[in-house]
């Protein structure tokens, strides 16, 4: 993208215009997320910058929305629901998904495409349709409005991510390592935990992170499958945005942005590690 020294004036103008356009688009992408961070420290219950804030007056900033978030029982209930639902759902999808991905990556699997299509389907079907179907079916079998129902629904939604990331990692996996391990006398279980698992771990963890994010950030399915007792953090935000919009939402949003920056970094580090590992294995 560097401009050659012989570029004409028109080319130079076009080049810089293009860069400005790209800058504006990046601004469009990132500005909304960054704007809410200072707004969450607003001392007033406004959703815009007060004159005091623009003048960097310390009086105009406060932590009161964060205080509200940490003391309000509604929000605390939502947080505790979220942290009890998402990890269990993630654990379920990672355990089942990793096993299935290993099965799928073997050389002779009958109906491979059909099985893959079924397992990926929760990602393809629009959430509102999954939510509707689950609401109908789970109320038939008495799971609607229960903790178990929400966990099962979220696990189903997270499975495609685990399958995709783990099968992608297994593509680079050298089968001769398991044969070598078997040759040295290890049983299939021992081989799995001592040889295969450490090598595919980055894939498993990033699949797990995707599944976790899916469950943690999910609101449509939990709105229908859950009842007020399973109200999660996104649900509480959804209600807050729809009914009585309170600046506490901005404080929550800021906390979530910080968490997602952390997750993004983790996934990126894992990806790099996984690429290094793949580079090490022969083939």
């Amino acid at each position: 993208m560097t401009l050659p020294p012989y570029a004409t004036l028109g080319q130079k103008i076009w080049h810089y215009t293009f860069l400005v356009i790209c800058g504006l688009i990046f601004f469009f992408l990132i500005a909304p997320i960054l704007t809410i961070i200072p707004l969450s420290f607003n001392a007033e219950n406004f959703f815009t910058f007060t004159p005091g804030m623009l003048a960097f007056d310390a009086e105009a900033y406060s932590l009161k929305h964060y205080r509200d978030f940490f003391t309000n029982p509604d929000w605390q209930q939502a947080v505790s629901n979220s942290v009890t639902i998402a990890p269990v759902a993630t654990l379920l999808s990672v355990a089942l998904g990793t096993l299935a991905a290993i099965g799928l990556s073997q050389s002779h699997v009958p109906f491979r495409r059909a099985i893959m299509a079924i397992m990926i389907s929760p990602m393809i079907v629009p959430l509102i349709i999954s939510a509707a179907g689950m609401y109908f079916f789970y109320s038939r079998i008495g799971l609607q409005g229960t903790y178990l129902g929400v966990v099962l629904a979220h696990a189903a939604l997270g499975i495609p991510f685990v399958i995709i990331t783990v099968t992608a990692t297994l593509v680079g996996f050298d089968e001769s390592l398991t044969r070598a391990s078997a040759n040295l006398g290890a049983g299939p279980v021992r081989t799995f935990f001592k040889v295969q698992m450490p090598l595919i771990l980055p894939g498993v963890i990033s699949g797990g992170l995707f599944a976790f994010i899916t469950s943690f950030d999910e609101v449509v399915v939990v709105l229908f499958v859950g009842s007020a007792e399973q109200k999660t953090l996104p649900w509480q935000m959804f209600i807050g945005l729809r009914e009585q919009i309170s600046p506490t939402i901005l404080a929550v949003a800021t906390i979530l942005v910080v968490i997602s920056i952390g997750l993004l970094t983790t996934v990126e580090l894992l990806r790099r590690r996984s690429e290094r590992m793949r580079g090490m294995t022969p083939g």
Binding site: L29, I33, L92, A100, I118, P126, L256
Partner: protein
């Protein structure tokens, strides 16, 4: 060893590659594995074992997904055509209506069947469910059935009084039992009653289920039919015994009908019946039709009856027709009245807005992907974070951000007023309309356009554009004729992905779309949680699902589903 320059087939003697082939050609006797079985069978066995092991690893997840996800989807498909409620709640009426030609009010016979059905439905409290079902098709049906459910018990009251006046024995439950019940059942019931009497403490055995006497169904068909239902309901719903309950008015009504209308052949040994058969034609009986019309005038309305007839099947295309702005009437399929044609509009709006969002994503995503693909790796990776951060941020965070920014008193309007572009009174309405939905969803879906575009553009060799330029093409021509065609697969992939995601979106349109910026998915949610018309919700969902699956099929053909990448 042999010379390494020779190919394997040039080798003499048996190599691992040629071994099986030689066996096949010569059939000189099977080659044996170490344990003595023929090698071919041994290999097949090993292959089978491998397949089974793979399937055993897959099975838990497959079953899990089938139960937690595929079964719900199948349930939804089933609900979009299922229509048991009318035929289950009004079994007799539905049969009687088969002969109705759709002109005028049905005859007295149909109303008599309706009375019997509704007495039972009201006893089971099913009539309100039927009412809400019919209300989806004809407004007012819900209140009509609620009202009727309260009054239907009184139909036949005058006949009850006249039967009892004729002979007080008609008031006794025992008279009815003697007339209707099977002798075996009477004996069983007596035994059960004696046991109950003798039992110390709580007695949990249920009364034996009521059985009709042989022949009574032929002799007094209507009475036997309704009395059997009466006895069954008394036993199961009220936990009481038909031996102690006076029958409902509708049973007397049915008896009167049997005695006056049908050709009755009464047995000699029933003096009570014989007496009633003589007296019945002289009774003052009120018309059942009038009784219903008195309760609510709508019962005389042929349109209501047309709806009942049209929805009397166990399965119906009615929900799908409703989802396409048609309705099922007694005469067949007709268009909905103009003011109720909303789904065509809604599907059209969903398509239009998804297309707009898709086009905005191309316009904004293409330059970014181009920039990223042509920058040095290190810089590109840093800028990529700006794309990935929104991608990783919670959907609700991004939606709340837009809700805050786009408000009338929000940041964007404040900036516009401050810079003087708009006046304070003329603040723009950017939220709770289509604009709001399009802006917010373009922002949310933009990474899904940039990432596939970027991965395609990274593979376009820069030498092609350089070659075009060295052959005399201007920058623009080189881009248009050489670079752009090579990036089209990325545009295709991104477009389908964005389009599929946006037509099924629910949360963002719900929060920033107001009334004009909502999608079909918001209507589905409305029917599930507010109007409770689950069948229509399921039909709308099924249509949406089919559209999405067709699009995914195209995506698979163009890009390949296995190429879905997450990072």
């Amino acid at each position: 060893m042999t010379d390494a320059t020779q190919g394997p087939d040039a080798k003499t003697g048996v190599t691992p590659d040629t071994g099986l082939r030689i066996v096949e050609e010569e059939l000189a006797g099977p080659v044996l594995a170490a344990d003595g079985t023929p090698l071919r069978r041994s290999l097949n066995k090993a292959l089978r074992r491998q397949k089974l092991r793979a399937l055993a690893l897959i099975a838990p997840l497959l079953i899990f997904v089938l139960v937690t996800f595929i079964a719900p989807i199948a349930d939804m498909l089933f609900r979009s055509v299922e229509n048991q409620i009318v035929s289950e709640t009004l079994p007799r009426t539905v049969v009687a209506l088969r002969d109705w030609d759709g002109e005028g009010t049905p005859d007295e016979e149909v109303f008599r069947d309706l009375a019997r059905d509704l007495v039972i439905a009201a006893e089971l409290k099913n009539h309100t469910r039927l009412g809400s079902r019919l209300n989806y098709e004809t407004t007012g049906a819900s209140s009509l059935l609620r009202k009727t459910g309260r009054g239907v018990d009184d139909i036949g009251e005058e006949l009850t009084d006249q039967f009892i006046a004729l002979n007080p024995a008609w008031e006794e439950p025992a008279t009815w039992i003697a007339l209707m019940a099977d002798e075996g059942w009477i004996a069983d019931q007596a035994e059960w009653a004696a046991e109950k009497e003798a039992a110390q403490g709580p007695f949990t055995t249920r009364e034996p289920a009521f059985r009709l006497r042989d022949g009574v169904a032929e002799m007094l068909p209507r009475t036997a039919d309704i009395y059997a239902d009466f006895a069954r309901l008394i036993q199961t719903e009220d936990r009481d015994s038909p031996t102690e309950e006076e029958p409902w008015n509708i049973v007397y009504q049915a008896l009167w009908e049997d005695l006056t209308l049908g050709p009755v052949t009464l047995p000699e040994d029933e003096p009570l019946l014989a007496e009633a058969a003589v007296a019945a034609p002289t009774f003052d009986a009120l018309s059942v039709t009038d009784a219903f019309v008195d309760m609510d005038r709508d019962w005389a309305d042929p349109e209501l009856w047309g709806t009942i007839k049209a929805f009397s099947g166990k399965y119906t295309a009615g929900y799908f027709l409703a989802a396409a702005d048609f309705q099922l009437t007694a005469d067949g399929i007709a268009a909905q009245p103009e003011d109720r044609q909303i789904y065509g509009l809604l599907f059209g709006r969903t398509m239009f807005m998804s297309l707009t969002i898709m086009v905005s994503c191309i316009l904004l995503g293409y330059p970014i992907a181009f920039l990223l693909a042509n920058l040095p790796m290190r810089t590109a990776n840093i800028l990529l974070i700006l794309v990935l951060l929104p991608f990783w941020t919670s959907l609700l965070v991004r939606t709340s951000a837009w809700k805050v920014l786009l408000q009338q008193q929000g940041v964007i309007n404040d900036i516009l007023v401050w810079t003087g572009i708009v006046s304070n009174a003329g603040r723009l309405a950017l939220i709770n309309n289509q604009t709001g939905t399009i802006i917010a969803m373009t922002h949310i879906l933009l990474p899904f356009m940039i990432l596939p575009l970027y991965s395609v553009m990274k593979t376009i060799p820069p030498s092609y554009v350089r070659a075009a330029k060295s052959l005399g093409a201007t920058n623009f021509t080189a881009f248009r004729r050489v670079y752009f065609p090579q990036s089209v697969p990325g545009i295709g992939a991104g477009c389908i992905l964005v389009f599929i995601l946006s037509i099924g979106y629910y949360i963002t349109p719900e929060l920033v779309g107001g009334t004009t910026g909502t999608f079909i998915s918001n209507r589905i949610a409305y029917h599930i949680s507010s109007s409770l018309n689950w069948g229509l919700a399921a039909a709308l969902g099924t249509i949406l699902l089919v559209v999405v699956l067709v699009l995914y099929y195209l995506y698979d053909r163009i890009v390949g589903i296995d190429n879905v990448s997450l990072s």
